[in-house]
């Protein structure tokens, strides 16, 4: 399949597809970070994660609409306001869901899976009723338009670059929060030994709620970033949920670095193969490859060695 192309052409194909893969990578990382916290740390399967992301995307869309009609002069900066709003809204919904539903189900992980699937159906239908079944998109502010020409053959769109930088920043922030802050230490303590953590005075119920809400909040920010590179529809979230779960499991559920590495591998493999094969076959091969590796190495790429 490579024979038809000359060497420099191949190089630029790889570079361009590599970059196209990077925007998929950003989506994966942003979605997977939230899941890695919720699933990796708490062991809760949140099937509604995609819908939390889409909630963030719709929040961003609404903010953009408000900015456009009320203060068009400030439109360039709407994104940062929208991102914060998206975080707040999804965080609040996450906390509510945890309180109403998840906290009753911690000892039954398979049942959380079903309950959150139900939640995702309800949210999807709500979006469809409120925003309509058609996909909506935001118009990008001027500074995000255009692209940077690296060489004659390779061009990098600015919005993609922005989203990628954003996702890495958020990944770094999550790392600091989980592994360098007092709160992160509490979370890890509760995960490792709940009774002991409670004995030293950690309010484990509160830690659970904030952790779940935080994971949802990150999904909201992910949705906000998602509007930069794609349009949003009621079922957009569901498209990514299986892939993202594979990303998290493939990376090793409790390792942030593993999550990022596996998001990178999967997105690059898929986007490079997409150029040579049809899109669907590329996806089939990538997923088969991941499932195959998981069958051989169920603990994922970067397994944390902990004594149980």
């Amino acid at each position: 399949m490579f024979a038809d192309y000359s060497m420099p052409e191949l190089m630029s194909i790889f570079a361009m597809q590599g970059f196209a893969g990077l925007s998929l990578f950003s989506i994966f990382v942003l979605m997977a970070l939230g899941l890695a916290i919720i699933f990796g740390q708490m062991g809760v399967i949140n099937m509604a994660h995609g819908e939390f992301m889409i909630l963030g995307a719709y929040t961003t869309y609404l903010t953009a609409q408000v900015f456009e009609s009320v203060m068009p002069g400030l439109y360039g900066g709407y994104f940062f306001v929208a991102m914060i709003l998206a975080f707040v809204v999804t965080f609040a919904l996450g906390a509510l869901v945890e309180w109403l539903m998840i906290r009753h189900l911690y000892h039954r992980p398979l049942d959380t899976l079903l309950a959150t699937w139900g939640l995702s159906l309800i949210l999807q239908q709500t979006y469809r009723s409120v925003f309509g079944a058609r996909e909506v998109g935001v118009s990008l502010p001027d500074w995000m338009m255009g692209s940077i020409a690296v060489t004659d053959l390779v061009e990098i769109p600015i919005n993609g670059l922005f989203v990628m930088v954003l996702s890495l920043l958020i990944a770094f922030a999550v790392y600091l929060l989980m592994f360098r802050s007092g709160w992160g230490r509490q979370v890890r303590a509760v995960v490792q030994n709940r009774p002991m953590a409670e004995a030293v005075g950690i309010d484990s119920g509160r830690v659970d709620r904030v952790t779940f809400a935080l994971g949802c909040g990150i999904a909201g920010v992910a949705g906000s970033a998602f509007t930069m590179i794609g349009s949003t529809g009621p079922t957009s979230g569901q498209l990514y949920i299986v892939d993202t779960f594979l990303v998290v499991v493939f990376g090793g559920a409790q390792s942030l670095l593993g999550t990022i590495a596996s998001a990178f591998t999967i997105s690059q493999a898929q986007s490079t193969m997409e150029f040579f094969l049809s899109g669907s076959m590329a996806k089939v091969l990538t997923l088969l490859f991941v499932v195959g590796i998981l069958m051989l190495r169920p603990q994922g790429l970067f397994a944390l060695k902990v004594r149980r």
């Binding site: 992980p109 398979l110 699937w117 239908q125 299986v242 499991v249 669907s280 169920p298």
Partner: protein, 380 residues
């Protein structure tokens, strides 16, 4: 001796429930419903096959599979391939550029039948394939996962991913599989037109018969020592392992059995509905099969059948009258069945109706008498 035990069992309370279900499916529905509605009930019952498998696999053994749609689809596609080949005889497809191959292959510029379609000219091969293909795939998945002691949510996610892969594959490979439309326009089974009302009614009874075969196999598994080991494995896996049982083999067995049930369901679906498409294979139908089982009661085989009937009837009703409400309803059902009624209808029945039954012993005795007359005649 055996017959006596069977009669004893039928006289028991459990036997009466089975008889009541048989009465409902074999007598009440065919009498009360027109042939269109009866065909729909038949369609609902095909999902009950998958739900039965899930009772054994999830309720009894604690293995949640989010991929029963895979096996349902494989069974259905095997049957559809046979029927499609029969429908695309050279005479029927004379207008195509390559006569004798299915129409969608011709549209996709295929000029010869792919090799994996060839054996489906034979009906006996198809019947074996309906059971063997799902079982084989289930066996591969199960060996790979359970031998490495992967279970719980990981297993659920992997099976879901495989369901996604299979859907994308079927949709992507249009020329070989009929793509997103699936395999349509199926006409005859060994020269017998399956589209007439009489054929559909007969197929309904075949479906009910197969369902009872699966039900009895399932009940036998649950009552046997094997069933008790499965239960022990669900609750204390390590302890079963330390007692010397090979836990993985039991899990592989029950997962393959569930896959075969789903495969039979899929084949019956194709026969009754007249087509098969990827929309019955993927993530959404697979997880809906879990909810059928959960609504009926994840530990109750009979519950799974009632669950399949009730949920699908509700789905049809809401989709016909209030389409936008159905997803809300389904969502609430998922949450409610997990939070409030983890044992589903069977649990509610046990808690609220059974005590009433004991208060009315006279009624129960009459029920017993009725139950006695039927099988004795059969035994003679």
């Amino acid at each position: 001796m055996k017959a006596n035990m069977f009669i004893e069992w039928l006289k028991s309370r459990e036997g009466i429930y089975y008889l009541l279900l048989a009465l409902l499916l074999v007598v009440v529905f065919p009498l009360a419903l027109d042939s269109f509605r009866l065909n729909m009930v038949g369609k609902y019952l095909t999902y009950a096959f998958a739900a039965l498998g899930l009772v054994l696999c999830w309720g009894r053994s604690g293995i949640l599979s989010l991929g029963q749609g895979i096996f349902f689809g494989l069974g259905g596609y095997c049957m559809a391939m046979f029927l499609k080949l029969e429908a695309s005889s050279p005479e029927n497809t004379a207008i195509q550029s390559t006569p004798g191959i299915p129409d969608f292959m011709d549209w996709n510029q295929l000029t010869a039948l792919p090799w994996f379609w060839e054996p489906f000219h034979s009906f006996s091969f198809t019947l074996i394939a309906v059971l063997a293909v799902p079982a084989l795939l289930a066996f591969i998945i199960a060996v790979a996962m359970f031998k490495r002691r992967v279970g719980g949510v990981y297993f659920a996610i992997i099976t879901q991913a495989i369901a996604a892969i299979l859907t994308i594959l079927i949709i992507g490979q249009q020329g070989f599989t009929g793509g997103v439309n699936g395999i349509t326009d199926l006409r005859t089974l060994m020269g017998w037109d399956i589209r007439t009302d009489e054929a559909k009614t007969l197929l309904y009874f075949v479906c009910v018969g197969m369902l009872f075969v699966c039900l009895i196999v399932g009940a036998w598994v649950m009552r046997s020592k094997l069933g008790r080991i499965l239960l022990a494995m669900r609750d204390q896996e390590d302890r079963v392992r330390f007692s010397g049982y090979d836990v993985a083999s039991f899990k592989i067995f029950v997962f393959c059995l569930a896959a075969m049930f789903a495969g039979i369901g899929g084949a019956m679906f194709t026969l009754q509905v007249g087509f098969m498409s990827p929309s019955f294979v993927g993530i959404v139908p697979s997880i809906e099969m879990v909810i059928l089982c959960a609504v009926g009661g994840r530990n109750s085989l009979l519950g799974a059948i009632y669950g399949a009937l009730i949920v699908n009837a509700a789905k049809t009703f809401f989709s016909e009258s209030f389409p936008e409400l159905w997803l809300y309803g389904l969502g609430v059902l998922f949450i409610a069945v997990v939070l409030a009624f983890p044992d589903g209808l069977a649990g509610l029945y046990r808690r609220y109706v059974m005590p009433l039954e004991s208060k009315l012993p006279a009624m129960l005795r009459r029920g017993n008498a009725e139950a006695q007359t039927l099988p004795v005649e059969e035994a003679k």
